[in-house]
Amino acid sequence: MTLDPKSTAALALHRFGLGPRPGQIALIASDPRGALLAELDKPNINRIAGAGLMGSAEAARALFEYRAEQQARQIVAKREADRQQAMADTEAGKSMTEKTMAEKSMADDAAQKRDPSKDVGRQIFLGEAKARVDAALTADIGFAERLVWFWSNHFCISADKIPSMAGAYEREAIRPHVLGRFGDMLLAAESHPAMLFYLDNWDSIGPNSVAGINRSKGLNENLAREILELHTLGVRSGYTQSDVTSFANVLTGWSMSAVSNPDHGGEFVFVKRMHEPGDKTVLGKSYADDGVGQGRAVLADLARHPATATHVAQKLAKHFVADQPPQPLVDRLAKVFRDTGGDLKAVTVALVKSDEAWSARRGKLKRPDEWLISALRVGGVREPGPDRVVGAQNMLGQPLWRPPSPQGFSDEEAAWLDGLPTRLDIASTYAARIWDRLDPHTMVDEALGPLASRETRETVMRAESKTQAFAMLLLSSEFQRR
C-alpha cells in the first residue's frame, strides 16, 4: 500500500510521533520519513532542560530530610497533645470531657496534616512531570520523546517504591542513550540507584562475602532475573535458574549509599564487603572476579547476545507498528542490532526506513499517555499544568512512572480498550474548555488529514456543538489508533 504524501505525513506524526499540532501535517508532507530522521539528528533532541530539577541522589536526600523533619514535628505535636491530655485528666478528674477529646483529636490531625504545596516529594515529582510534558508538547514531531517513553518503560522503575528518583532516573539513565548504544543504556539503568532499589539489589548480599558471613541476610535474585527475562534476553530464551543465581551473585555489592548520608546519600556504590567472591559462570561463560567489573562484563555480553537483539527488535516493532508486528520487520531490526553491536540509532533508522513500518494497518491503540498528549497537541495547548496531566493519566490507568510491575505498561490493545469510557469523559471535559479556539471546519484535516474516514468527518461535522465535534474527533478510531 502506498500512501499519498499527506497521509504519510499524518501517519508519521501519529505512529512515530506524538500526534500533529495544527499545520504540522502540511509542514512535513514533502518528506515525512526525512522529517522523522531529521528530528533524530537534532542535537540533544533526546535531552530535556533540567533547569531546577535535582539529580536523583540529591532528590533522594531532599526527600529524606523532609520526611525526617515531618516525623520530628509529629512527635513533638504528639508529646504536646499528650501533655495537655495529662493536664486535662488531672484538672477534670478521671473523666475525659468531650472538649478535651476534641482538642486531642485536633492536635493529632494537625500533626498528620500536610500542606501539599510544601510536600517535597510532590514538588519533585510534579517538576519532573512538567519537564516531561513540556518536552512532549513542544517537540516538532516527538519521535525522540516516543523513544524515551519506550525505553523508559522497557527499563521501568516505579515511583511507588522510589518516588524521589522516578523522573531523574529517566533523565539520567534513559535519555542519554536512546540514540546511543543499547549496552550503555543497559549499564546505566541497571547500575542506577533507582533500579537497584526498585528491584531489591541494593541489599542483596553474597552468602560468602564478608557481610554475608557476618550477617544472616543473603542473596536477592530479583534484579538478575528481571534483567535476563525483561531487559535483555527475554523470557524462555534458554537461560536457567543457575544462570539467574549466578548472575545475582555477580551483582552483589551493587548498591546505593544510605540516603541519610548528607554528601553522597542515594548514589551508586559498589560495596566490596557485600560482593560474593570468586569467578562465576553465566550462560556458560566464566567471569573472573574483578569486583564491579564482573557485573559490567556480564551486562556487556548480555547486550551483545543474539536473543537480546531479537527481544528488543520484537518489542520495538510491537510498540511502533502492530501488536503482532510483521516478522520480516522484526528480523531486519534484530539483524541491524546485531550487526551494529546494539547501535540504537541505527536500529531506529532501520525502523523508519522499513516499508512494513508504514504499510501496516493502523491498528495500534494509543496508550493513554500517547493519546492524552496527542489530544493536547492538536488542541494547541502548551501549558496544561502537570498535575492535570498526571491526574488524567491516573484516571486512564497509566499513572506516570508507576507501572504495575517490572514488565512495565502493556503495549497491547486489550489492556487499554476498556478505558474508552474514561477517555470519553476526559475528551468531553477537555473539549468543553478549549472548544472556542477550534474551527470544526478544519480540525479533522489538522488532526488526521486524509487518514480520516468519511464516517468520522461526517460525525464531526454533524456534531451538535463545537465541543461535541472536538470530543468526537479525539475519540474517533483514527485518532486513537496509529
Binding site: 474508552l420 470519553l424 454533524r462 475519540l475 478510531s477
Partner: protein, 412 residues
C-alpha cells in the same frame, strides 16, 4: 487544560457540563423604578419548532407529518394555545404561563443564517452578526457593554468559574461564570453518536463502549426486531435534573438584590435526526426537561419574576417533514420562546408561511418569516433600554433596516 487533578468520575462529568455566565448588570433602570432581568437560554442542536408549537389549524399540517403530527385529540393531546396553534403536551408549565399572559411564542423565526451547519448557525445566533466567522463577542455582551459605557456602576471585576462561557455573553463587559455542582451532564447523545461511528469504523471500540456504558440492552432491543425508539433513551432523568438545577440556580442569582441582571446558559441535545419522539420520546423528554427548567426559573425568581424576561432560542429549525428514521434533519424556521412576567404574553406571534410543499423553504423547511434579531432587539430596547442606534450598529451590526419588534413587554 481540562484535566482536574485526580478527580472523581463525577467531578469530571460535571465540569464537562454546560455552563452559565452572568454579566454584572448596572442597575441603571432603578431611576425609573425598574430593575429588569434578562436570561438567554441557547438550545444547541437546532430545535424542531413544529414539535413545540404545532399549527393544528393549518389544513396541510396532518398531510405534512402524518401520525407524527401533534394534534389536540392526539395521544397525548396537544395543549391549545389559540385556534391555530397547540403546544407540545410535555410543556404544561409553559402552557400555564402562556394562559396567564406570561409567555409568548414567536413562530417561523430564524436568524439570517440559511445554511445547515450547527457551528456556523450557533456563531450567527450568538454573535449577532449576519454571517459566521471569527467572532469573539456576543450580542448580549455588546448590549451590556454599550450601557456600561454611559453608566458605569460599582466594581465590575470579572468573575469566572468553570470552563467556557457561551459566546452570546462573551466580550468586553465583565462576566462571571459558574458550573452547577453535583449534577452530571447528560452525555448520552455523545455516547450514542460515538457508538454509531464505531459501529461503522471500529467494532472493537463499539464493544468496549457498549459494555461499559450499559447500552447493551439498547442494542439488543434493536437486534431483536424492536425499533430503536422502543428503548427509552438513557439518563433522561439526568437531563431533567440538570436543566432544572442549572436554570433554577441562574434564576436564584438573577433574583438577588446584589446579583447580576443578565445571564446566559446553554442546553445541548436538540439535534434529533433519529427517533425524534415528538409526543413521547426523546424530544418530548427534552421539552419536559425544559419545561421543568422554566418552572424552576419562575419559582426561584421570586419577586423579581415581575421584572423578568427569558429568551429561549436555537440556531435554526429542522426539516418540516419527518425523515426516513423517524427524525428530522437540519432546517430553517423555528420557534423562539419568550417567558417572564414582564412580557405582554399569551400570544403566538407569527407571519405564518404555511406548510404546503410550495410554501416550504427549499421544499424542506418551515420558511422563516420573522428575523429573530428583530425579536431580540425589541426585548433589548424595551426591557433593558438599549439605545436603538446601538442595537443597529453594535449589538446586531448592519441591522439598521430591521426594526425592533415592538410591544413584547408590558412596560414598553
Amino acid at each position: 487544560m481540562a484535566f482536574i487533578h485526580a478527580p472523581s468520575r463525577r467531578e469530571l462529568m460535571l465540569s464537562a457540563g454546560v455552563l452559565f455566565a452572568w454579566a454584572h448588570w448596572p442597575k441603571l433602570a432603578r431611576a425609573e423604578g425598574r430593575d429588569p432581568r434578562m436570561l438567554t437560554i441557547v438550545l444547541r442542536g437546532a430545535l424542531d419548532g413544529l414539535a413545540v408549537a404545532a399549527p393544528v389549524g393549518d389544513p396541510d399540517w396532518i398531510k405534512l407529518r402524518g401520525d407524527k403530527a401533534l394534534t389536540i385529540d392526539g395521544k397525548p393531546p396537544a395543549l391549545p394555545l389559540d385556534s391555530f396553534f397547540a403546544l407540545n403536551p410535555a410543556m404544561p408549565n409553559l402552557h400555564r404561563l402562556y394562559k396567564a399572559g406570561q409567555a409568548t411564542i414567536v413562530h417561523a423565526a430564524a436568524t439570517p443564517y440559511r445554511e445547515r451547519s450547527h457551528f456556523d448557525g450557533q456563531d450567527v445566533l450568538e454573535s449577532g452578526l449576519d454571517k459566521p466567522g471569527a467572532v469573539h463577542s456576543g450580542w448580549l455582551n455588546r448590549a451590556l457593554a454599550s450601557l456600561k459605557a454611559e453608566h458605569r456602576v460599582g466594581d465590575e471585576k470579572a468573575f469566572a468559574v468553570g470552563p467556557v462561557t457561551p459566546l452570546v455573553v462573551r466580550g468586553s463587559a465583565p462576566v462571571m461564570s459558574w458550573v452547577p455542582p453535583n449534577i452530571k451532564q447528560a452525555t448520552d447523545d455523545t455516547v450514542l453518536r460515538l457508538l454509531d461511528l464505531y459501529n461503522h469504523t471500529d467494532p472493537a471500540m463499539a464493544r468496549a463502549l457498549e459494555g461499559r456504558m450499559g447500552l447493551i440492552s439498547l442494542a439488543r432491543s434493536e437486534a431483536m426486531g424492536g425499533k430503536p425508539g422502543d428503548a427509552k433513551p438513557p439518563n433522561m432523568n439526568g437531563a431533567r435534573a440538570y436543566f432544572t438545577e442549572a436554570a433554577g440556580t441562574a434564576a436564584k442569582y438573577l433574583a438577588r438584590a446584589d446579583g447580576p441582571r443578565v445571564g446566559a446558559l446553554a442546553f445541548n441535545g436538540w439535534d434529533t435526526h433519529n427517533n425524534e419522539g415528538v409526543a413521547s420520546g426523546l424530544l418530548a423528554n427534552l421539552l419536559g426537561a425544559l419545561d421543568g427548567a422554566i418552572a424552576a426559573i419562575e419559582t426561584n425568581m421570586g419577586d423579581a419574576w415581575s421584572q423578568t424576561t427569558v429568551a429561549i432560542v436555537t440556531e435554526f429549525g429542522r426539516t418540516a417533514r419527518i425523515n426516513g428514521t423517524d427524525g428530522t434533519d437540519h432546517g430553517t424556521g423555528t420557534v423562539a420562546l419568550l417567558i417572564g412576567s414582564a412580557l405582554k404574553g399569551g400570544r403566538v406571534i407569527a407571519d405564518w408561511p404555511g406548510v404546503k410543499a410550495t410554501s416550504l423553504y427549499e421544499n424542506r423547511d418551515l420558511k422563516a418569516t420573522t428575523d429573530l434579531r428583530a425579536v431580540l432587539k425589541g426585548l433589548l430596547r424595551d426591557h433593558l433600554r438599549v439605545d436603538e442606534r446601538v442595537l443597529a450598529e453594535t449589538v446586531f451590526p448592519g441591522s439598521a433596516k430591521l426594526k425592533p419588534m415592538g410591544g413584547l413587554v408590558v412596560s414598553a
